[in-house]
Symmetry: C2
């Protein structure tokens, strides 16, 4: 599956209000507490190859996700493979050399409209973000999602939450 995704910072109360007003016409899907563990590869630098292996524990269960390199320079479009797994997979991952590289905890509110998803993420240690996601279309769709971010006056951010947590301005 190809995930077309853009993300923007919510930094002012005005932006926060604009986002809430904007999603008012969307369907509220639910609220989820997500704990994401990112793993480092035993012999590959995931930061350099722009890949990620993530274990997400959330209200719905435990999910293992592989994210491939981003495919264009404006959005976060990338290959994403996700499966539900037992939480005990952590032990197997450790045995075969994968180490915990970082943890991202957030509360995510999800909204849907047509084939789009909008997430309002409150990320521990970072603040509030809006993510827009589409499973249909490629780069043209990514530009459309960026237009929505722009109309909400949100600054686009291509870096992951993990990268932001580890960076100086994060």
């Amino acid at each position: 599956m190809l995930e077309v995704e853009v993300k923007g910072w919510v930094t002012t109360p005005e932006q926060a209000r604009a986002v809430e007003e904007y999603v008012d016409t969307w369907s509220f899907i639910g609220e989820d507490n997500q704990e994401d563990i990112y793993f480092s590869h035993p012999c590959r630098d995931f930061a350099a190859t722009d890949e990620a292996l993530r274990l997400r524990r959330c209200n719905k269960g435990t999910f293992l996700t592989y994210k491939g390199p981003k495919l264009d320079s404006v959005s976060k479009t990338r290959e994403e493979l996700e499966i539900e797994v037992p939480a005990e997979i952590v032990q197997i991952l450790r045995r075969i050399g994968f180490k915990e590289a970082g943890r991202v905890c957030k509360t995510r509110r999800s909204f849907g409209k047509n084939d789009l998803l909008l997430f309002i993420d409150d990320v521990q240690g970072l603040g509030r973000f809006v993510e827009l996601e589409s499973t249909a279309g490629g780069l043209p769709r990514a530009r459309e999602l960026l237009e929505i971010l722009k109309s909400l006056r949100l600054r686009p951010e291509r870096r992951s939450y993990l990268e932001l947590l580890f960076s100086s301005d994060g």
Copy 2:
């Protein structure tokens, strides 16, 4: 979980008959068609470290298993971590550098008695084997299992089916 396990070759019709007679007083658990895919590690020589990562597809589902190095010189006792996973985990394993190293297909009949398990395995390309397994006890238990093999006049074999398939006498 620590898996205490021994294995023996069934090479003559007399041995085969002796095994069938021996398990006559055990409970028949079931028959299972198992396809095992073994993976090579992207940067660790599993043959040298005596570890294994296996995906088993069988009647009961798909299982991912990590096997640690053997812990003694007589039995196949080793750490074993096993979880049920969706079959699509193969794609994630490939993306993170694990390659298919070999495949073992077998029909397994399982029998139980007290805390022991006995398997009669018909392995494609190798022939018939008896495996004895106990989840209780360590090395003393392993010796007891070896005694059973001896009483059935079966030649003990510490190598895995995969090793045997790749070796000259396999």
